[in-house]
């Protein structure tokens, strides 16, 4: 694995949180992810970039086994979180997903009130002892999701009645509320305006202090701004993985270079 070696050379001081080896993903016949091996570090932000349809979402979904919900998909290879194989038969995907939260590409608020949307995770995981604590958790999550000011007066209004960007931030708040160790974000800012984007980026930066964050983005600028590590995918392959600065200033693979400079897609 040529790509992998690059990344191994660049290990920083952080321990490895997620280690993927030779991951293959198939949708029925389609081979969507080929031979991807990558080490994602703790207390770091890792960005996945690459042209549309290259498999970023697919790979991201493997990391918390959300792929299990797509009947046609099949995952091969091993992915370890904290050294434990998450595809092990003994692993409970539910527990895994509590640990590895996710924000989806399309905002998908529940058809419930804004409050209930956020309180949902803490409730099922029993994170709050009482209503007051829950209120507090919800408020903190909404603040971190940079949406508190907009919705604080209508917490009981349905989450589906928000604008696209508001819905997306609500989903971020919802994911943050369960306090995951790893947060997977699939283009979390694509529906957001610059200010909200800045707020989310700030949040990501804050999260980085305790958690590992993986973010899919189409914006090189964003990747450059928020991430420490960047992985470039192309046609299902992990082409290059390394320190963000290196990737953007000094890409090793010609494909990466041409993508960053805007020549392939």
């Amino acid at each position: 694995m040529k790509d992998l070696k690059i990344s191994e050379n660049d290990v920083t001081q952080q321990p490895v949180k997620i280690a993927a080896r030779d991951v293959q993903v198939y949708y029925d016949q389609t081979h969507a992810i080929r031979d991807v091996s990558v080490d994602i570090q703790d207390r770091n932000v890792t960005a996945f970039i690459g042209p549309s349809g290259c498999g970023k979402s697919t790979f991201l979904r493997c990391l918390n086994r959300m792929n299990d919900t797509i009947p046609s998909s099949r995952v091969e290879g091993t992915i370890r979180i904290d050294g434990e194989d998450i595809y092990d038969r003994k692993v409970d995907p539910v527990q895994l997903r509590a640990k590895v939260g996710m924000v989806f590409q399309k905002p998908n608020p529940f058809p419930k009130s804004i409050y209930d949307n956020v309180a949902y995770g803490p409730r099922i995981h029993g994170l709050a002892r009482n209503k007051a604590e829950l209120d507090e958790i919800v408020e903190r999550a909404l603040r971190r999701g940079a949406i508190w000011e907009e919705v604080k007066d209508r917490l009981q209004a349905p989450g589906t009645g928000l604008s696209g960007g508001q819905q997306q931030r609500l989903c971020i708040a919802r994911a943050v509320a369960t306090e995951p160790e790893v947060l997977l974000m699939d283009e979390p800012c694509s529906a957001l305006d610059p200010i909200a984007t800045a707020q989310v980026e700030e949040l990501i930066d804050e999260l980085r202090r305790n958690y590992s964050v993986v973010i899919v983005t189409h914006s090189m600028q964003q990747a450059a701004r928020v991430s420490q590590k960047t992985a470039f995918f192309h046609l299902g392959n992990l082409v290059e993985y390394g320190d963000t600065d290196d990737i953007f200033t000094n890409p090793k693979d010609p494909r990466t270079e041409s993508y960053i400079t805007g020549r392939i897609g």
Binding site: I81, D82, G83, K90, D92, Q95, A98, K99, E133, I137
Partner: protein
């Protein structure tokens, strides 16, 4: 790899715990999950078990109806009796009533008994009692269709009396006939001898599937065929009316109707119609279709119309639920490319709602197929032993019964042989139903898709 504990994290946080070991809370939740799933499996199993029990009951009681005992005898179609003028004119032969055929049969049976060397103390008339009361009619029908055979001796398969048939099927035993004045032990001796001779045997009874009803005195001659056609024509009417009207009404209510009190009234009304006892639809049908519109009574057309009114609410309710479930973004997408509301509904929403619509249709038609009460009031329950209709028009207008009505009638009749036929009829009804469902289910599967 262990994490530094996070002081800000709340108590129940499983932070840092191994994924390979389930924490207590997850284990508890997983047990709840297991239970939940188990309830689902249990529910399905209960449903299927009940189905199995019901089908088992039906099959074990009803299969007998598809078998029938026949006695094969050489009969001399004596020209002297049947065609006294000797000109083989069908009109003249018709003049001989069934009473005129009875002696031919007794004679034939007596001859057979003699030829086979069976000893019996019975008189020819008593011997002939083991034949069905329908036997004479059978023979007469045959002769009327084959007038050229008059004067010859033919081998003819006669239906036997229901008691004899029951004896062959094990329903009637020598013990059980102790008080029975319809059959005697000597007659059973004769039956045994004829069985030994090979003249009397049991075989598959196609007439049960194709024939018409027979009166109470002749259970062995009763068949389901004509009633089946009656049901078929009714279902055609129901399908042709209830499905389009139901879907049209649902589309209007769900997609076009302004949300105001008028549509609320219609909506409530429709759910309410679903709760109207089916016999009330019979009252309505009698008043509107027969007394007001002067449609003929006992006609499958009227039955179909009544059942249409009865099924409409079921179809409308399920169709509306299905339409409601289609995500609004699909409608937006269609409107966005310049489709009209109507086009967006017919091109996109309706196909997506098709599985739900078909489910409603399956359930609605199943209900309509098995319904008796409303038919009672429009004259489709009773003794309607007409011939199979010649065409669609006659099929719709000529008096006919329907399968459930026929079953209901048979179940009421005194002779236990009818009871067996009622269960047999239920088997036919179910086969009919399953065929009907299978078509809809196949269609439904083509439309099913999660998006």
């Amino acid at each position: 790899m262990s994490e530094i504990p996070n002081p800000a994290a709340p108590i129940a946080d499983p932070r840092g715990a191994s994924l390979l070991v389930q924490d207590a809370r997850t284990a508890k939740r997983n047990r709840a999950e297991g239970r939940f799933k188990l309830y689902g499996i249990l529910a399905i199993c209960i449903g299927l078990l009940m189905l199995l029990v019901l089908l088992g009951t039906i099959l074990s009681r009803g299969t007998g109806a598809f078998q029938q005992s026949f006695l094969t005898l050489p009969v001399e179609l004596s020209a002297a009796k049947l065609d006294k003028k000797g000109n083989r004119d069908i009109e003249d032969i018709k003049k001989v009533s069934t009473f005129g055929y009875a002696p031919l049969m007794s004679a034939a049976l007596a001859a057979k008994v003699e030829k086979a060397g069976i000893e019996t103390g019975l008189k020819p008339k008593q011997m002939a009692d083991i034949l069905s009361k329908d036997a004479a009619a059978q023979l007469r029908d045959f002769v009327l269709q084959n007038t050229d055979l008059v004067g010859q001796t033919i081998e003819f398969e006669f239906l036997t009396n229901s008691r004899v048939d029951g004896y062959l099927k094990g329903r009637v035993t020598r013990d059980s006939i102790a008080n029975d004045k319809n059959i005697s032990a000597e007659q059973l001796d004769l039956v045994d001898a004829l069985i030994a001779d090979g003249a009397l045997n049991k075989r598959f009874n196609l007439d049960f599937i194709t024939g018409a009803d027979a009166s109470d005195a002749r259970p062995e001659a009763a068949g389901m065929g004509v009633a089946m056609l009656g049901s078929l024509f009714m279902m055609l009417v129901v399908l042709a009316l209830a499905l389009p009207i139901g879907v049209a009404a649902s589309i209007y209510l769900e997609e076009f109707a302004p949300k105001n009190w008028i549509t609320d009234i219609i909506e409530v009304n429709i759910s309410n119609l679903a709760a109207v006892p089916s016999i009330v639809f019979g009252i309505l049908g009698l008043a509107v279709f027969i007394n007001y519109m002067h449609l003929p009574s006992s006609a499958p057309l009227v039955g179909g119309l009544v059942l249409t009114l009865m099924t409409l609410p079921t179809i409308i309710i399920s169709t509306r639920a299905a339409l409601k479930a289609v995500p609004p973004s699909i409608r937006d997408a269609a409107l966005g490319v310049g489709a009209s509301k109507m086009q967006s509904v017919f091109h996109h929403v309706l196909p997506l709602a098709a599985p739900g619509i078909l489910t409603g249709t399956i359930i609605g038609l199943a209900q309509a197929l098995g319904e008796t009460a409303p038919l009672l009031l429009i004259g489709m329950v009773g003794f309607i032993a007409s011939n199979p209709p010649d065409g669609i028009a006659e099929g719709l207008m000529a008096p006919n019964s329907a399968m459930p009505a026929q079953i209901y009638e048979w179940a009421k009749r005194a002779d236990p042989a009818f009871y067996e036929r009622a269960w047999g009829g239920i088997i036919i009804l179910l086969v009919f139903l399953i065929t009907m469902n299978a078509i809809a289910v196949l269609l439904r599967r083509r439309f099913e898709r999660r998006w």
